[in-house]
C-alpha cells in the first residue's frame, strides 16, 4: 500500500473538491476493484467480532440513556416514600430506592450524565493532546518545551490532583454557573487537562515520522503553507491513533468520573450519575445488594464495549493488519 491511498483526506477536514481520486496501487489492480479507504476499514472492522458487538452495545447504551427518558416518563427525582425499597416489578423494572425514586429512570438520568461527561472530557483531552502533539512534532523549536511539559504532567499524581481540584474549585464554579452546570464544567475540564498526555505523545511520534515522508516534501515544494500542511497532510494521516485514543479516552473519563462520584467528590447527591448511584447503594449493601449491581454493571459494560471498539478500530485502521 502506497502513501497515496492513505492520503485520501477526511471530508471533515478538507473541502470536497480537493478529494483525490483514490489511486489504487498497481498490485491491487490485479486482485480486486479499488475500494475507498473507509470501506476497507469497515471491512476489517466487521471481521473483528468483539469490536462489532462492542460497537453495537455502545450505540445501544447511548440510545438508552439519551432516548430512553423520552419513552420512560417517570421522573428520576420524584420522591414517593410509600413505594420505597421495592423489588423489581412492572411499574419499576429495577425497583425503587430508599426514597421511592424509580431506579430505572435514575439509571438513565445517571447514564446520561456519565456518558456526556465521558464524551466531552474525551473531546477536550483529545483536542489538547492532538494540538500539543502536532505542534511538538511539526515545529522543532516547540518540541523540547512542549515535551518537557508533557513529562511534567505525566509525573503529577493524577487522582489525588483531581480530588484536590474538586475541593478547590467547586464553590466558585457553583456560584458562577449553578450547582449542576458548575460541577459538570469542573469535572470535564479537570479530567480533560489531566488526561491529554498519552495522546500528545502518540501523535507527536507519528507526526515526526510523517514529516519525513516524500509527500510532505512534495507538498512543501509546491509552496504549501504550514497551516495547510498540518490540516491537509499531517492531520488526516494521524487520524487513526487519534481515533483509537478517543475510544480509550471515553473509557477512562467515565471511570474517573465514577471514581470521583464514588469518593463523594463528584456530582451533588441529588444529581444521579452511575458512580453516585453506586456510592449511595453501598449504604444498603446488606439489605439490597442488587442496587449496587445495576450502576456497576452499566459502567463496566459501557467501558468494556468502548474498549473492544477501540481494539477493533486499532486493527481496522492499521493498514499492515488490514486484509489479513
Amino acid at each position: 500500500m502506497t502513501d497515496k491511498d492513505r492520503l485520501v483526506p477526511d471530508e471533515g477536514l478538507a473541502p470536497a473538491s480537493t478529494v483525490l481520486p483514490a489511486a489504487a496501487g498497481p498490485l491491487e489492480e490485479f486482485t480486486r476493484p479499488p475500494r475507498s479507504q473507509w470501506r476497507e476499514v469497515w471491512g476489517q472492522f466487521k471481521s473483528h467480532k468483539g469490536a462489532l458487538y462492542g460497537g453495537i452495545l455502545f450505540v445501544l447504551i447511548i440510545g438508552w440513556v439519551y432516548l430512553g427518558p423520552l419513552l420512560w416518563h417517570l421522573d428520576p427525582t420524584l420522591i414517593n416514600i410509600r413505594a420505597r425499597n421495592q423489588g423489581p416489578s412492572l411499574a419499576h423494572p429495577f425497583g425503587t430506592d430508599q426514597l421511592g425514586r424509580d431506579t430505572f429512570a435514575r439509571m438513565m438520568a445517571g447514564g446520561k450524565t456519565s456518558v456526556s461527561v465521558g464524551i466531552t472530557a474525551m473531546l477536550l483531552a483529545l483536542g489538547l493532546g492532538s494540538l500539543v502533539g502536532v505542534l511538538a512534532g511539526f515545529f522543532k523549536r516547540l518540541d523540547g518545551l512542549l515535551m518537557r511539559m508533557t513529562d511534567l504532567f505525566l509525573a503529577l499524581p493524577l487522582l489525588p490532583l483531581l480530588l484536590v481540584m474538586m475541593l478547590l474549585f467547586r464553590e466558585p464554579l457553583n456560584a458562577a454557573f449553578g450547582p449542576e452546570q458548575g460541577i459538570f464544567i469542573l469535572i470535564v475540564v479537570s479530567i480533560g487537562v489531566t488526561s491529554w498526555m498519552p495522546t500528545a505523545r502518540i501523535v507527536r511520534g507519528d507526526v515526526l515520522a510523517i514529516k519525513e515522508r516524500e509527500f510532505v516534501l512534495a507538498a512543501r515544494s509546491i509552496g504549501t503553507r504550514n497551516s495547510m500542511m498540518i490540516l491537509r497532510h499531517i492531520l488526516p494521516n494521524v487520524l487513526s491513533p487519534i481515533m483509537v485514543s478517543a475510544t480509550l479516552g471515553i473509557a477512562t473519563a467515565i471511570i474517573t468520573e465514577s471514581s470521583l462520584s464514588f469518593l463523594g467528590l463528584g456530582f451533588p447527591p441529588d444529581f444521579p450519575t452511575w458512580g453516585r448511584l453506586l456510592f449511595d447503594a453501598t449504604d444498603y449493601l446488606q439489605q439490597y445488594p442488587e442496587r449496587v449491581i445495576w450502576p456497576g454493571l452499566a459502567i463496566s459494560l459501557t467501558v468494556l464495549s468502548v474498549n473492544y471498539l477501540g481494539d477493533g478500530l486499532r486493527d481496522a485502521l492499521d493498514p499492515r493488519i488490514r486484509g489479513r
Binding site: D151, L152, L154, A155, L156, P157, L158, L159, P160, L161, L163, V164, M165, L167, L168, F169, E171, P172, A251, I255, S258, S259, F262, L263, G264, L265, G275, L278, F279, T282, L285, Q286, P289, V292, I293, P295, G296, L297, I299, S300, L301, V303, L304, N307, Y308, D311
Partner: protein, 335 residues
C-alpha cells in the same frame, strides 16, 4: 550508564521542585478556612493570632520556602534522629497537620505499612499471575486460552475497583460470609490463627487490585512474547535442537522480559493512586484514606505533603524504569 543515571537524578530535582510549586500554588487558591471550625464566640483578634500560629500570616513565597525547608531539610533530620538517637532536629518546626496538630510525617509513617501490605502483596500476586498467562497466551496465540485471557484482561480493564470491590463484598462477605468486609488494621499477627485471620481479611482487597494489575501486565507480556517468537534467533535455537521448553522459557522469555520489567516498574506509583479507591471500599486506613480525609477536612499541609509523596513515587519509579531498561538491554544504553 552511571553518567546517565546521575544526569537523570539531577534532572529529577527541578522536576520535583516544579511539581511541589504547582501543588502549592493550587492549594493557595483553596477557599477553605482552617478557622472555620472555631466557635463564633472566639473574638476576631484571637482568631488572627491562631491563624498566625498556623503560619498563615506570611506571604505565599515565605510559606512555600518554609514548607520546602521543613520537608527536605528538617524531616530527614527527624528520621536520622529517630534511628540514630541523635538530636539534629531539636527545636525545629515540622510540617504540622491542621487536623490533629501533630507532625504530618508521623501520621504518614503510621499509615504507610497498611498501604504497603495491601498494595505490595497485590502487586506481587498480580505480576505472578500475569506472567504465566501472558507467556502461554502468546505461545498458543488465538487458542481458547488466549481468547479467555483476552476477555479476562478486558474485564480487568473495564470493571472499576469500586465496583469489583463492592461486588466481592456482596458475594463473599454478605452472601457467603467467608471473609470480613472491613480490613482490621489493629490486628496483629502473633501465631498461626491470627495469621489465618490476617490472610482472610487481605484476600479480597488484594484480589481486587491484582485483577487490574494482571490485566495490564499479561497484555504486555503477551505482546512482548509475540514480538520475539517470530525472530530469527528463535528459529536458530530450534534448529540447534534445543527443547521447546528451553527455547520458550530461556531464549524468548529472557528477551521478552525487558520491556515488561520496565512496565512493572512504571506501574508501581499508579497502583498507589488506584489503591485510594480500594482502601476506601475495604476501609483500610492507609495513605489513600488519609488523603481523602485530609481533603474533606481542608487540611492543606497534609494534602500538600501527601500529593507530593505521590509525585516523588512517580518520578522515582520512572527513573528506576529507565535505568532498568538500560541495564537489561545493552542496545539502548545511554552512553
Amino acid at each position: 550508564m552511571l553518567t546517565f543515571t546521575v544526569r537523570r537524578l539531577v534532572l529529577a530535582v527541578p522536576t520535583l521542585l516544579f511539581i511541589s510549586l504547582v501543588l502549592f500554588l493550587l492549594l493557595e487558591l483553596a477557599p477553605g478556612d482552617p478557622m472555620a471550625q472555631v466557635p463564633l464566640t472566639v473574638p476576631p483578634e484571637v482568631k488572627e493570632k491562631m491563624r498566625e500560629a498556623l503560619g498563615l500570616g506570611q506571604p505565599g513565597y515565605v510559606r512555600f520556602w518554609k514548607w520546602l525547608v521543613q520537608f527536605f531539610w528538617i524531616e530527614p533530620q527527624v528520621l536520622i534522629d529517630h534511628y540514630l538517637g541523635t538530636s539534629f532536629s531539636e527545636g525545629d518546626l515540622r510540617v504540622i497537620s491542621w487536623q490533629t496538630r501533630s507532625p504530618v510525617m508521623d501520621i504518614v509513617i503510621q499509615r504507610i505499612p497498611q498501604t504497603l501490605w495491601v498494595v505490595g502483596t497485590a502487586y506481587v500476586v498480580g505480576v505472578l499471575i500475569a506472567l504465566p498467562i501472558g507467556i502461554y497466551s502468546a505461545y498458543r496465540q488465538y487458542s481458547w486460552f488466549d481468547q479467555a485471557g483476552t476477555f479476562v484482561s478486558m474485564i480487568g480493564f473495564s470493571v472499576p475497583p469500586f465496583f469489583s470491590g463492592v461486588l466481592v463484598i456482596v458475594i463473599f462477605s454478605v452472601n457467603l460470609g467467608w471473609f470480613p468486609s472491613i480490613y482490621d488494621t489493629t490486628h496483629k499477627v502473633v501465631d498461626w490463627d491470627s495469621f489465618v485471620i490476617q490472610l482472610r481479611q487481605m484476600i479480597m482487597p488484594v484480589m481486587v487490585l491484582a485483577l487490574q494489575i494482571t490485566a495490564q501486565i499479561s497484555r504486555f507480556m503477551r505482546a512482548s512474547m509475540l514480538d520475539n517468537l517470530n525472530q530469527d534467533y528463535v528459529r536458530t535455537a530450534r534448529a540447534k535442537g534445543l527443547g521447546e521448553k528451553t527455547v520458550v522459557l530461556v531464549h524468548v522469555l529472557r528477551n521478552s522480559m525487558i520491556p515488561v520489567v520496565t512496565v512493572i516498574a512504571l506501574g508501581v506509583p499508579s497502583i498507589f493512586g488506584g489503591a485510594i479507591i480500594t482502601e476506601q471500599v475495604f476501609k483500610v486506613n492507609g495513605i489513600g484514606q488519609l488523603l481523602i480525609g485530609a481533603i474533606q477536612a481542608n487540611d492543606l499541609p497534609m494534602v500538600q505533603t501527601l500529593t507530593f509523596i505521590f509525585a516523588v513515587l512517580i518520578v522515582l519509579f520512572n527513573l528506576i524504569a529507565d535505568v532498568l531498561y538500560g541495564l537489561l538491554d545493552p542496545r539502548i544504553r545511554y552512553d
